[in-house]
């Protein structure tokens, strides 16, 4: 009987010791009985797309971040801020530092502007904008981009253009909660010459070289130099 009581007491002691360990987590906070993991996303960068809500160009660019796979991936890695010029937050925090609408701006967590393009300087296509953002992000992080021909790329043809329709401005969809730091923006794969194409060009070069050599000799025979 004593042994039974002793074992029960031991079990209770183990539980008593274990409960505070669960409650006092390093990155968690006790909220009633739930432990909520708070996002440690203070290092995340910001991408703001600023424009007029009725401007088709602005809506097109915002739409790219849902339709283009690379930009969609980027959107989930940063704090994505679509801001329309009819809002108080635009007047308070963008109007004084945005010259032309629409504007696309990428910032580090401390506010340093890594990339900014406005109006006609914004690339024409989603892939172009992704490339520009990727280049700027890599430069800011001191990363040398991997050359496209060294990557195992899939061939891509341009598909039909997205045609987003202007819509009322609801709150943006909540982004996934994570602890991302600077984004890892990869440039879109580009189509370039296949290996056999390079071989054909080399062969053509060799043939042209040989032919021009013979041509020069023949010309020399037909037109002897007068000394």
């Amino acid at each position: 009987m004593n042994k039974l009581l002793l074992s029960v007491l031991c079990l209770l002691a183990v539980f008593a010791a274990a409960v505070p360990c669960f409650a006092d987590t390093v990155n968690g906070v006790l909220a009633e009985e739930r432990i909520v993991n708070l996002p440690q996303d203070q290092g995340k960068w910001y991408v703001s797309v600023v424009g007029n809500a009725t401007d088709s160009r602005y809506n097109e660019i915002v739409g790219w971040f849902d339709t283009n796979a690379s930009l969609k991936k980027l959107k989930n890695q940063v704090h994505f801020c679509p801001v329309t010029s009819d809002t108080a937050i635009y007047q308070a925090r963008y109007a004084s530092n945005v010259k032309v609408l629409p504007t696309v701006r990428m910032q580090k967590a401390d506010g340093t502007v890594v990339y900014e393009a406005a109006g006609k300087n914004i690339p024409m296509t989603a892939a172009g904008l992704n490339g520009a953002l990727a280049g700027a992000a890599n430069t800011a992080q001191g990363i040398r981009p991997v050359l496209p021909w060294r990557k195992d790329m899939e061939r891509r043809c341009p598909g039909p253009c997205p045609n987003p329709q202007p819509q009322p401005q609801p709150d943006p969809a909540p982004q996934p909660i994570d602890d991302n730091g600077p984004p890892n923006v990869e440039p879109e794969p580009q189509t370039d010459l296949p290996p056999w194409g390079v071989a054909v060009i080399c062969l053509a070069g060799v043939l042209i070289g040989i032919a021009s050599g013979y041509g020069r000799q023949l010309y020399g025979k037909l037109h002897p130099t007068v000394k």
Binding site: A31, E32, H79, Q91, A92, N97, G111, V113
Partner: protein, 185 residues
């Protein structure tokens, strides 16, 4: 002598390359307070249908606006009011599908997290009778935005603020969305 002069002439532009570069954290001005809520986004307190103050809701609405939830902020202002308890507010957030986090145990790490991630949070003061928005917390200073006077931020020593909060049931709560982008540097 000429060789020495020539070498010096060559060295001058090389040495000059190191002067005037100012990269690194010191070149970046940090925004003060961290949650630099513009005046137009600040929600003043109001009397709810039962005649009570709505300080909790006012604080949440200001934070919703800072975190780009403008529609949610408008909806909240039109739908809710009066005094609030942690459990009741959590139930409302759950019902509305709001992403949020809160503590009621005075865990300072929550305040540090909220300000570090630039989201801010509502905190109880005055023995739990009032809620204000915590908009800054660093090693020395804290700043709050009181919804009874949204004209200015109130700066207090960090320890003073924490002592006040812990003596007021230590309730802190915030929505978890994208904070406003920092001003361009």
């Amino acid at each position: 002598m000429r060789r020495i002069l020539f070498a010096l002439v060559l060295l001058v532009p090389v040495a000059g390359c190191e002067v005037g570069e100012n990269f690194g954290p010191s070149a970046v001005k940090k925004e003060w307070p961290t949650v630099n809520l513009p005046a137009v986004l600040r929600q003043s307190n109001w009397r709810g249908p039962q005649g009570q103050g709505s300080c909790v809701h006012a604080s949440m609405i200001s934070l919703f606006r800072w975190q780009y939830r403008l529609r949610t902020a408008d909806h909240w202002r039109q739908t809710y009011g009066d005094g609030e308890q942690p459990e009741d507010l959590a139930a409302k957030f759950n019902q509305e599908g709001i992403r949020y986090a809160y503590v009621t145990n005075g865990d300072v790490r929550f305040l540090e997290w909220a300000c570090r991630t630039r989201r801010g949070c509502g905190i109880t003061v005055m023995g739990g009778a009032h809620m204000v928005a915590l908009v800054h917390l660093d090693d020395k200073w804290a700043a709050i935005l009181d919804n009874n006077n949204v004209e200015k931020f109130i700066w207090v020593p960090r320890e003073t603020l924490i002592a006040e909060w812990k003596a007021s049931y230590g309730w802190a709560v915030t929505p978890i969305y994208t904070p406003a982008a920092p001003l361009p540097q």
